[in-house]
Amino acid sequence: MWESALDGRRLRFHLAGINNQNFIMQDEETGTWWQQVNGRAILGPMKGRQLKLIPADIVAFGVWKLDHPRGRVLAPDPEIEARGDEYAQSDWERNMARRRVVTTLPKGSPFEPRTLIVGIAVNGHAKAYALTDLRASRVLLDVINGRPVLIVAADDGKSVRVFDRRVDGRPLEFAATPHSVAIVDGAGSAGGKTAVPRAPLLIDLDTASEWDFAGRATSGPFAGKTLARVPHLLEYWFDWQTYWPKSDVYKPWRPTPKAVDRLEVPKPAS
């Protein structure tokens, strides 16, 4: 999502090509080529310029509409719908997962190329979190380039939000409570067959105020406060790695399982 004005001129973009599986767009006005993933002009008269990012909330529709009941949703093109099944690629991600990847990852790369990651960049420093790791930990605290962040994953395994965990300039520590809250109001979708996504209810360890998936304190001393969002991308690892070759990677701590084959009974002192 980019603000498409530069130097007071509106630019209109078209699909113009592909660069290692990330598309290139061309603007009608100057003919410059732009890289979709980072909004940077790579060739042409505007080369080197950068479009202004509009941070996007990448979540399940049910989650989004709870926070934006008066929001507007992009309508499908009736012409394309009339043509039949062209939109019906709800399994796009699954489809793409089978496609091969053209770039080669450096040796010792921590993930498979098509691993879905959440990528966060703070002032030129990037860090990637595998979606499965986020889902397992539900709540994650980190500091990226000096910025304290809070990452929360809903149990649908794909809706993730990233916040700046400072309140009034002071970084807070958060923890998931044993409770989770439904983040979709209705009975889900497809005739109520889909499970209703839930997100952990958080508390901060300073005041034990409760915080929801929208980063709002719903009770306690901080009630009414809202955490600032931090932009993130839901991306394939190979693509993130191409544009952030020095990206840090979150490695979850995992206990090393210790093989126990017999009970260790302390020997009696003789």
Partner: protein, 182 residues
């Protein structure tokens, strides 16, 4: 003179095809690209419409001229029989076929470089329309992913399923032009 014209026509046809083929064949979805490839492809893509048009004029003009003459075959040394491929009729037909093919090839690439073949597969969305959250039942379920943005006090959601098809959506909210990409 005719030989020179033949060379010119061939050269023009090859130039036109090359200028269009290089960027088209290097910038393909399941091939790797390098900065160098893009640096070559980009200027070719920019000049292709003009270059192909000039080439098309040369190729079709030259072909017309070459097709017309000479009516009489060159005089043969006496007593020699012609091999089959030297027969005037064979030569005439072969020349016709070759020149037609050159004109056709140049014509096709001249047309092709004026198309956006990426948009053949992923149609742009010129008329961007939105519906209220309540009116989405026919095309969107609660568990599908969307990309939500807030611009000028408006909240907008772009379903990934639609964006994976269009890839690029241009719109304007108040004074803020926006390009939504996926």
């Amino acid at each position: 003179m005719r030989r020179l014209l033949w060379v010119l026509v061939l050269l023009a046809a090859v130039t036109a095809v090359t200028v269009v083929a290089i960027p088209t064949l290097t910038i393909m979805p399941f091939k790797p690209q390098t900065t160098r490839i893009l640096e070559i492809a980009y200027p070719l893509r920019q000049i292709a419409p003009r270059v192909t048009l000039v080439c098309l004029v040369i190729v079709s003009g030259g072909a017309l001229f070459l097709l017309r003459g000479p009516r009489q075959p060159a005089a043969l040394p006496r007593g020699r029989t012609l091999r089959w491929f030297r027969q005037p009729l064979v030569r005439h037909v072969a020349r016709g076929v070759l020149l037609t093919a050159l004109v056709a090839a140049t014509g096709v690439v001249t047309w092709f470089c004026r198309q956006n073949h990426f948009e053949w597969m992923f149609n742009p969305l010129p008329n961007v329309k939105y519906v209220d959250v309540g009116a989405t039942k026919s095309f969107l379920t609660d568990d599908e992913m969307v990309m939500g943005i807030e611009v000028n006090g408006l909240s907008l959601a772009y379903p990934v399923r639609q964006m994976a098809y269009h890839h690029v959506v241009n719109d304007m909210f108040g004074t803020t032009p926006v390009v939504v990409t996926y």
